[in-house]
Symmetry: D2
Subunit: 367 residues, 4 copies
């Protein structure tokens, strides 16, 4: 399979460039009979939308989605679901100044060298605007997972640059522009972002995402592990440089007696494993954490080379997110949803005749 | 594709269980004409072999590999390369005591629930012994990458539990049982492991792995990114709970002006991106870091349930590595090699007619 | 991979229904740098277009294609090429009479039973109108194959119902509505079709398609054979019930001394093998022949059942092709082109360093 | 996926050469809990075995199969099933005379040109002996299909060279060396073969294969059609040059009113469609017909070229089947079984929640 599709049975194909006519996608393999309308996709797209606060890019896009196929009389038919999101505020001319240079930390250089050419309008195909397709595809996955299995997928901003944001309550997350799980921290985050924006610089972030209600048994050993596919999905999001499942890097310093989550008839005690053992879901919450690097398009002069290899400097004045992590929460949720539906389908394909032999007195939980 | 294969064009398929008759694999897609013998695979297998020091499992396996196809008169023919490694020191009876219980932190429980049954002899398919297949497949990949492109792949143990092992020299790595890059630290590591083993507990580790000499342009946007495939490959290794590329999680606190590696006519200044931008190799070193959790089979009593869901306790007395990270270096190298050859082939498929337009005065390096 | 995509490296994804808003597709993996515009796709789409003669469906569609991505400044960028063809003459009401019944020989019944529902507007996803996507994707493949390797792909109608149309000249093919290779036969074909149309019945056809100039070496043993992938591609075209390569079914009665094409320094003597041996191209013409069944939507009363399983009769009065074979030539060409580009890329991925050791005095030909 | 694997969810990977140490395969994705032993595979392998009559190759192979993984206590575990068949009667020296020349009609030439080298011992990887892997993998598929769905897959020799063998009774098929469905014809077939063998020539054949009991709904539109995957599977068998589903090429001359199988509350009337409509199974018998070309290794002098391109002649004196069609029946059955189980799994993955809304008064049958 080529690089613009992912998923084995719930297969998402994506196309589009930042300043071309449109983005679009195809979701293949969605089960039939799911109630679905453009509004289901739009709701998630609006969460990711640019221009929704002063802390993100000021590009004005309604991100209106049109479903072109695969839905009939309000329900999915089981055939390919095509959808389209027209670009409305494309300004390719903004980029003429940088078409001949490479932004440090950006894919400008690698596309140029790989393909012998590049679409220099914004990031072209490398733009994070491509994530509209992921969010739309994820919205369908989320809806099916919730209606079929009661799976709930949600995430939050866990760190903004140096500022850690400890989890306090899901109620806060949708009430602020940062997806921060603590409303009390929002003023400080706003102040931090205002100063950052004024400085012309950018910063990294950490996003955590969870799936609750995943049944035991999803995931395929040994290369098709659930956590392996989650890692791939997350690392494919623009700017992601690190992925953790469960205890993640903290497991290095743990002892086995501390890390291995004990079991009782009431379920697991602790969730260091992040809901995955041997690549297969345990029935606990799936917990994932991502590191997103700071945006490479910044308003500060930096050394670079031009397309002929000569030394020069660059600063980027287009409309950019000073922290791509701020809008990353719905994207990470979408990718997790797409991986989970894919494995839900793969699992029932192979093990559709199996009833898990062991039922806990209580449903297993993250303890 | 099902879960026991990976790779698009350099496709590795694996089979075998810890206490079954044999492990084996098939490498499909290897270019023809590569000089290859069983000795090439054996050399890497010997680096991963159990029983080579007192710090690892005492299972005695020669891990002798037999090539069954795909090589004729000492060279690869372009057809599927099948290979076989017989298990010699299988002791399935060792496990009768734990066949009815689940080891905390182990895949025992998830296999049981997913498949409605499990091969309880050791970890069955979930055993880390499966990595013999990866190492053999990686040996072929490594050899081709080196002979065709001069790519060198190597790794080292960067942390053992709480003990960080700063990189000092490659010369040290093959000279000790830990793959530690600093001989002076070995006595301390040995002491640490002796105490750990005596305590019956286990510990996590960090392994770093690098690829030097990778040309610019390998990797496919947007889901088939080189770093996405590396993340999947690494997270599919038993016990891995976190993956970083380049600066990894440190990028969260970096500013864009600090993270984005500047460029000069002499190449990149710094390598925060770990040799990948936009999912495509930059020509710098590819740098990857993994977190491995502590082994779940430990000689300490732990709460668990049995296959009927009743509370019980377990302690594992079989032969196990108290730190799987110690033998993980050749495995991580192998997985990186398999991903890189796959992308080398994918790149020349699509872009075989492209010459990278920009040649640096010097070859780009990690600075 | 799910059912709406095909191809490993040149991967085509399709969506759309006969009476929905649009058809569209995504071509992933096209090499960068190919000159391409919507006109290149439109030229092929116009060859397949409905309503172009009285012998085909009278549905009025311009089949205007819009390229949405993957092309920049007139050349492919190497990223996914998305394209869209809006339906203009959809008349879903035409089908209300048949929404509750199954047309004999049509996919109505199987979709209903598989998915528990169906889009009853025309054939929905099962409509042969889906082949617009194939033709558009094939146009790109054809252009690349021609410009990069000089491969020429073309086909013709070889039989219309009982009337065989022996090959006479390529010059005739584009000059009549049947893609018949003999202008002199056209009046008889027209008379046959006029009578058939008046009778309300339909008829089958045979289409032959060839690729000239394919280099030796494309195709992968043993399951990824070139002829295996061609067979799959052809059999996936609506109404196709049989596929032959080279001598096809005639080989049953051949002796080995007759069938096996001898070789001389001037090339092959004969082409019984249709340009493929052991699944790999020989350098001769690739020759393929298809059987297309008669259209199932006919204006003649037939016994069937309704969606509740009760006996009833049906006759179909919508706009339909009385012989789908008439417009099948460009579709078969497109599918052959897609398979060939896929294998061209796969071949150079694995064997990019190989020069075929033997050069014939003359280029091998079909003799 | 590379060329030595096939199937999406029931994925078969194959390796081995005619005169190398062994053939082997990996079946990935088999549902857990299936009773399975080596004897199940052996039974099918024995049906295909060489040397079982004077009409086939006299190579003496027991084709003993060893299962290496994926089965525990007599049942499949859901993990990869690896198996091995050692070559016992390899005589690589037999081929030294032809190592420098190409057999007309054989893959010798294309392998040589594709890979720049070839394993000249017998056909190497191109040998039809590779079909042992298919038969072993198909045996597992057959067993699961039969036990889970009552699907019965069987085939027969329908034509041997010019001699048509009309179907008379399944009872005859296993009682003669030809898989002929009419015992009375066997003496004539034997006489024909004795004369053919004496002449040093070879001949083609037709094999028909059926699957009875396949439920409605298997197969994925539009490229992942059941008939498309069947066509690919059959065309991948050595020597196959044509594939038909249902009426096959006879549909060309049929009228729609004749071809389209009418439906009544008792089921379908006729089975021109061969059990597939719109790429999805109808619940009728799946009927497939194959054309196999005459063996290219014959004892008659033929014109060819040597590896330097010089004119020469060749005649092949090794041990070969004068008609590969004679042993092709179990192979075709195996391929059909592998495709069907793959689609059974794919169907329940996507449509596992769907009950076919329409139940016929009687089970649909081929009428």
């Amino acid at each position: 399979m080529s690089g613009n599709s992912f998923g084995v049975l719930y297969c998402v194909t994506s196309f589009g460039e930042s300043h071309g006519p449109a983005y679009g996608g195809v979701v293949d393999g969605c089960p039939p009979g799911l109630e679905l309308s453009a509004a289901d996709l739009q709701r998630e797209l609006d969460r990711r939308k640019p221009g929704s606060s002063r802390h993100v890019t000021q590009r004005r896009e309604s991100d209106s989605v049109e479903i072109l196929s695969g839905v009939y009389e309000g329900r999915t038919t089981g055939t390919a679901i095509g959808f389209l999101i027209r670009n409305e505020d494309a300004r390719p001319k903004d980029y003429s100044a940088i078409a001949e240079k490479f932004r440090p930390g950006h894919a400008d250089y690698t596309y140029w060298q790989k393909y012998g050419m590049r679409d220099a309008r914004g990031g072209g195909r490398a733009s994070a605007r491509e994530t509209v397709v992921r969010v739309a595809a994820g919205a369908i996955a989320k809806k099916w997972l919730r209606s079929r299995y009661g799976v709930v997928i949600r995430g939050y901003l866990a760190q903004l640059g140096p500022r850690k944001i400890p989890f306090r309550t899901w109620d806060a997350v949708e009430g602020n522009a940062f997806f921060a799980p603590d409303s009390d921290m929002v003023p400080a985050l706003e102040k931090f972002m205002d100063e950052l924006r004024a400085s012309g610089d950018s910063v990294g972030a950490r996003v955590n995402v969870l799936a609750e209600g995943v049944p035991v048994g999803w995931g395929e050993p040994v290369y098709g592990r659930l956590d392996s596919d989650i890692a791939a999905a997350m690392m494919s999001i623009n700017a992601v440089k690190g992925v953790e499942i469960g205890a993640g890097f903290a497991c290095i310093e743990q002892k086995g007696s501390e890390h291995g989550d004990e079991m009782t008839p009431e379920g697991f005690v602790g969730n260091n494993n992040g809901g995955v053992l041997g690549g297969i879901s345990t029935g606990q919450d799936i917990t994932v954490s991502l590191a997103l690097k700071p945006t490479s398009s910044i308003r500060r002069p930096r050394r670079t080379v031009d397309v002929r290899g000569n030394a020069t400097t660059i600063e980027t004045t287009g409309r950019h997110d000073p922290c791509v992590g701020i809008r990353a929460t719905p994207i990470a949720e979408a990718m997790l949803a797409c991986v989970l539906i894919d494995h839900a389908l793969r699992h029932r394909a192979q093990c559709g005749d199996i009833t898990p032999p062991l039922r806990f007195a209580k449903l297993p939980s993250g303890g």
